[in-house]
């Protein structure tokens, strides 16, 4: 009889764990950046700090694009 430790494909399980960790935490991080960018953009625009507003708008857009790309990439890998 094969010992239980050898039955399990630990490498595949480890890959699953790493993929889930990177995707789950990564999406939380990029989307938080998107919210941070949007929130600070609103404040900077209201105070007429144009350059700062532009930088935060860029951060927000990049965060949003990174989030969307991560989600789309994940689905493509599964399919």
């Amino acid at each position: 009889m094969i010992p239980p430790a050898e039955i399990v494909d630990w490498e595949a399980l480890l890959d699953t764990g790493i993929a889930a960790l990177i995707a789950g935490v990564g999406v939380a991080f990029t989307f938080s950046l998107a919210i941070l960018g949007a929130s600070r953009f609103i404040e900077a625009s209201r105070d007429q700090r144009t350059i700062e507003a532009g930088a935060f708008a860029l951060l927000g857009v990049v965060g949003l694009i990174a989030t969307a790309a991560a989600i789309a990439g994940g689905i493509i890998v599964i399919a």
Binding site: T16, A20, L21, V25, A28, F31, A34, I78
Partner: protein
């Protein structure tokens, strides 16, 4: 129509009923976080989840292959054994739904099939390597992984957004939950609908309609997707309340983190063909997102009740599956046994629903 074909039709219909109860029982978990944080209204959340569950069923077939090929020895299985396993799973699903416990439909299904195969053929019918390596060990790891990912994700969110005004942050995560909730529903459909596809494929192999190792036919994929989507749309308010409000009181960032962590774990596992419990994963992610903010925010007593239900699921469904197989054999090897069980099951279900209606419909969370 031969008697073998009649049994096969009964098995397919029973599998689709199981799939419906799976949607009814499980998918409420998917929308609970969106509803409890008021990111979506209950009706919109449930409709949205139903549509994405349907779509998710078409994404992959890796889990279906595991259920059909790696749990029991296909060439010693008969459609009656598959039927008895399904009855074990449905009975356990309905019992835990009745008591409002989010137990695992997946473990119920695999437990039921293993139990009936064991009762009918013996231990040689069960692929213990597959059950341990592809079902039981991932089942233990997945919720812990979801807990860790959910916990780290919420800490990251709070670190990045710590000093921001709560208004825009809450609105931002509410919007984010539309995406993360949708992704979770898609992931759920991908993993859970495939289990039914796998069981129907197993019955088709057992009846000689499909060669071993073949993918499920398109009609199986479409019918499984439809059944789980309908189940999602119609049921599950009682479990929404448990998942969404009793484990922790969530803010939108926690809801987003929990849904994102749950989706990531389910999709990654689906890719490797692990038929894990989406209920376990989502519960783990919800608890992780709660504990990441404040460990005492998690109502561990409720979490303990859920863990108890999890522990009972595999053996209980296996026992019911084995017992059901035994009852079918009282009526011989033909279709009479399964027909009697279906009639008795339908009568009991109607009685349970009638009793539930008399007691009143549970109030949705939020």
């Amino acid at each position: 129509m031969s008697e073998a074909d009649l049994i096969l039709y009964i098995v397919v219909a029973t599998a689709l009923v199981f799939d419906f109860t799976n949607g009814f029982h499980d998918t409420a978990n998917v929308v609970a976080t969106s509803i409890s944080t008021r990111a979506m209204s209950p009706r919109i959340a449930v409709t949205y989840a139903a549509i994405l569950n349907f779509a998710g069923a078409f994404i992959s077939l890796a889990v279906a292959a595991t259920v059909a090929d790696d749990v029991v020895v296909a060439n010693v299985i008969t459609p009656t054994i598959v039927f008895a396993g399904l009855v074990g799973a449905i009975a356990w699903n309905l019992a835990t739904w009745y008591f409002g416990l989010p137990s695992s439909s997946s473990h119920a299904l695999i437990g039921g099939v293993v139990g009936s195969a064991f009762a009918a053929v013996g231990s040689e019918a069960v692929l213990s390597d597959g059950v341990i390596g592809k079902v039981l060990v991932p089942a233990l790891i997945a919720p812990v992984l979801a807990f860790v990912v959910g916990g780290i994700a919420i800490v990251v969110c709070y670190r990045v957004l710590g000093r921001q005004r709560p208004g825009p942050v809450t609105r931002g995560f509410k919007l984010g939950q539309v995406a993360s909730g949708g992704l979770l529903a898609l992931a759920h459909g991908t993993n859970d609908a495939q289990k039914t596809m796998g069981v129907i494929a197993l019955a088709l192999i057992a009846n000689g309609n499909l060669p071993e190792g073949a993918d499920p036919p398109t009609w199986v994929i479409v019918s499984a997707a439809t059944a789980i989507a309908l189940g999602t749309y119609i049921g599950g308010w009682r479990i929404i309340k448990t998942m969404g409000t009793r484990i922790i009181k969530m803010d939108t960032a926690q809801g987003f983190s929990a849904q994102g962590a749950g989706s990531a774990v389910i999709l990654a596992s689906t890719h490797f063909g692990y038929p894990l419990s989406t209920t376990h994963v989502i519960s783990g992610a919800v608890m992780g997102a709660g504990a990441g903010k404040r460990v005492s925010a998690v109502r561990w007593g409720v979490a303990g009740n859920i863990v108890t239900a999890w522990l009972l699921t595999f053996p209980a469904a296996a026992a019911i599956g084995a017992m059901t197989y035994g009852i079918t054999q009282i009526f011989g090897d033909g279709a009479l046994g399964p027909l009697v069980i279906v009639a008795a099951g339908a009568a009991l279900t109607v009685l349970a629903f009638a009793r539930r209606i008399r007691q009143g419909t549970p109030v949705p969370a939020g």
